[in-house]
Symmetry: C2
Subunit: 227 residues, 2 copies
């Protein structure tokens, strides 16, 4: 029965891959990408080099896979705990708070923040890591869309660019939390962000900023030309 054998081998390979990723997540979360060598990582899994290289050929490949698996896990856990009846702003607050608690309390989730910061400076436009933002962006964008649809958020909000701004906020908050407290103040920083973010989403267009000076100048010149 080669099919059954193949399935058993696949399952075993998947379990081994998961074990490697969990070990890597803990180590990357603790000491960052540069703080750990591939040899240290291999030793920590208790595997032979040959067995390890069957799954990952480099530290970069392992780091990208680890970030991706843990990012997906974090977002899946946040979505699983969402209350379908909650308003969009309650759901946004609640997801941001659960996120901070998960990252603070679970080393493999903390890896999303620490390894994310490392991979971000190691990557650039068009990189695989850059494409990983899409998952977080999409979940924020859907929440904005829902809030705009129910009238809870301003109708002028464009879900995609709003999500891009919020996603940047989360990234910056994570990064400064790491720098200032090794991630320990993430819950406090999350409250500081929510205190500004929710009123911003609920506000009506009358309170939006003036267009850039350059556009205003152009407009003034156009008006002058007409007169």
């Amino acid at each position: 029965m080669p099919t059954s054998n193949t399935r058993v081998r696949q399952q075993r390979a998947e379990r081994t891959r998961s074990l490697i990723i969990d070990t890597a997540a803990r180590m990357f979360a603790e000491v960052g990408f540069d703080g750990v060598s591939l040899n240290d990582l291999i030793s920590a899994t208790g595997m032979s080099k040959g067995a390890f290289y069957f799954h990952f050929s480099s530290k970069d490949e392992l780091a990208l896979a680890t970030f991706r698996v843990k990012q997906r896990e974090l977002i899946t856990r946040l979505q699983a705990d969402a209350e379908p009846s909650a308003s969009a702003s309650d759901e946004l607050c609640s997801a941001m708070r659960r996120r901070a608690r998960l990252i603070a309390g679970d080393p493999t989730m903390h890896c999303v923040v620490r390894l994310g910061a490392d991979l971000s400076v190691r990557s650039g436009p068009g990189s695989e890591y850059a494409s990983f933002q899409e998952l977080g962006m999409r979940s924020i964008s859907q929440l904005i869309e829902r809030g705009v649809h129910t009238g809870e958020f301003g109708a002028h909000l464009e879900p995609r660019s709003t999500a891009r701004a919020i996603f940047a906020w989360v990234v910056g908050m994570d990064s400064l939390s790491l720098l200032d407290s090794g991630g320990r103040d993430l819950e406090e920083r999350t409250e500081e962000v929510l205190a500004l973010l929710i009123p911003a989403l609920r506000a009506r267009p009358s309170t939006a900023p003036e267009p850039p000076i350059r556009n205003r100048t152009l407009k003034t010149n156009a008006t002058k030309a007409r007169n």
Copy 2:
């Protein structure tokens, strides 16, 4: 006249230091901290190793000094261009837009974003780099304080924690702009941030988020205990 000679030597040393920092700023902005070796940096200044080491003993020391000088220069340029009669939100918008243009247009200013991201992941709580945030934080905090004082911004805003949240937003915006476009979309991202930030600052406390679930639960339990 030893005093005069000392002054001449000091001025020459300062000019040399400035030259090194400007060269380093361009190189760090282009290829990041890891992309350039100390030998490359020394060669680019045209100096002998001995003369260079008189000013900086390591790449880390040079990177910190370069970031600090360019960060101060950026903030000084932004403050010099501020219109004293502008409202706090006009000044905030205008400073953020000038910042994006300066960073996009001047390689030595772009260094603040690129080298800042590199130094951030290389540093931690209590580091010299972590203390450099204070300069940006203070200038945002003063602007918030002014807006609250004139009644333009919500009276409930605490300048320091509001500035901390805004500063995080700027850091995240810079970081994603680097990742997605090498910094080329910074002006566009600045508009996305301002479109949410200004309404948030102008909003009144009625639109603020509910307190965290845990506090709410505590309150409910306390109410129950009293009944």
